[in-house]
Symmetry: C2
Subunit: 325 residues, 2 copies
Amino acid sequence: MATIHDVALKAGVSVTTVSRVMNNRGYISERTRSKVFQTMEELNYHPNEIARSLLRKRSNVIGLIIPAVSHPFFAELANHVEYYAYQSGCKVLLCNSQLDPVKEKEYIDMLKRNMVDGIVMGSHTLEVDAYRNLHSPIVTIDRRIDEDIPYISSDNYAGGRLAAELLISKGCRKIAHICGNLTLNLLANNRSMAFRDVMLEHGIENVVIQTDMNVFDHDQYGRIIGKLLREHEDIDGIFATSDIIAAYALKGCTQAGKRVPEDIRIIGYDGIGAVSWFEPEISSIRQPISEIGRLAVELIRKQRDGEPFERENILPVELMERSTT
Amino acid sequence: MATIHDVALKAGVSVTTVSRVMNNRGYISERTRSKVFQTMEELNYHPNEIARSLLRKRSNVIGLIIPAVSHPFFAELANHVEYYAYQSGCKVLLCNSQLDPVKEKEYIDMLKRNMVDGIVMGSHTLEVDAYRNLHSPIVTIDRRIDEDIPYISSDNYAGGRLAAELLISKGCRKIAHICGNLTLNLLANNRSMAFRDVMLEHGIENVVIQTDMNVFDHDQYGRIIGKLLREHEDIDGIFATSDIIAAYALKGCTQAGKRVPEDIRIIGYDGIGAVSWFEPEISSIRQPISEIGRLAVELIRKQRDGEPFERENILPVELMERSTT
DNA sequence: TTGTAGGCGTTATCAA
DNA sequence: TTGATAACGCCTACAA
């Protein structure tokens, strides 16, 4: 690997001049400029970004911490974060926490040691103080830490209402809601709040079931659905807090001999692409995943550059009515 | 951020001593050692990895270039690569090429400028020379560049045979095969070779349809399936080269009023988790994605450390017979 | 057992 | 318009 010194030597100028040409700073004679460029070509020179980072005290890297990129919601999020990061000259370091607090902590420390521009936190297994004290630009997805740390979420409450009201408007009279662990203080819990509110307003009988939100244990979903259908045979509507859970609900209903949507209606949440691969397509509340990714990158950049930025970023959701409602 | 100098100053020793304590090298008195550790604690000192990378000429980063992490196969691959990289003290830089040669090239250059330990290439849009000349440890997934560059693939030929023979053994007499672009020189094409061979051996009528393998345009799958079923009404078996395509095939068959597997049997490829979320579960040829990820990381590490390594890594596949055959 | 000094590849400052 | 030199934070000879 050629260095700036090699180029300077061969071109017969100083390293300063080479640096100037590269970064297009200050005055350089046209003759020198072209000579330097030519030499860089000949030597196949590429500036060492590590050395630059050391000097600039930042690496143009954004750390993305999520539970697991194998989960389709986070896969899509990662895809968009990478897209917008690339647009703004940044790279993305992929960190799966596997919802393990130790791993999440280690990743945060590692990212700081590597002087990343900022961290997008889509996993939240630590105490709030851990996030408060890390003095690095940070954006949280779907969790509110405190006044100072910007967060992005879709309008979970509105989404929950949309789903609940749709089921009721379709005539459902006993509705189940399958959600994550409500003690975890995630903004996604607002979906469940909305569900309760709507049920109360309309006086609709309902069942709320918490899963432990373990992204990896899909078998639990099958068991939960089975149990639900056995214990409450008269359920005619299910609002699942993710499309994957909704898919398992659909599967469970079919296996139990129920017709969807005639006997029981199902709606999911997230609006991941995968639901449209299969038949019937599951109705869902679509989160604007691309916009979440875009904003995440923008908020990191603005904090890094000392520009003003919005702390609360609640994005609109959209009802995607398809075949299961 | 405290530096090694701050620690040295406060502890009343030299930076060398601090470095020695950190890296546990040479002889240090117990008294000095504990004093240094204590000072590091007090100052909340974390060594700057950028400076270390500059010195070591490597960053402990593995670049992962794939078409798009939103695609479930690559999402799972990325998940495993991250897992094993983390195990061996490496980080993963996520690079979606979007199958754009320009972006792929820029990512390769960027990774070199950042002195990554190596590159895992899951996207292959460039000419072979581009990969040959990059003088950085590299591993390709599902593509053979030349003698020197190690590659990993599952046993595509065996997988193709398994799928084709299963359909025939189930009684299929006119079979369609939907594959990617066969001119692209990917090892996945061996699935299609195997398909042809088996059809020939058994004298089975068949249709081969190439898609342009654009990971993002899922609509084309629906169109292709529709056209296929219209033009060949008597098809009773489909071997799709990915589970997503198989899902669309299933959907298309259902919409066309065909029963699966009674009227037509379908088998996919990859064995991604998503197929088990839905009913019916699609039969598939499972690639050992976790093992592919593990090997990829290991091959980078071995090249980096100058250890001997295997050039050809062909991993076994497994038939997952489920409900669509 | 500990310290001094030089260098990794850049860029910024100050002179020339 | 160009060049010498000092950082950036760390590690590793070599010395003491």
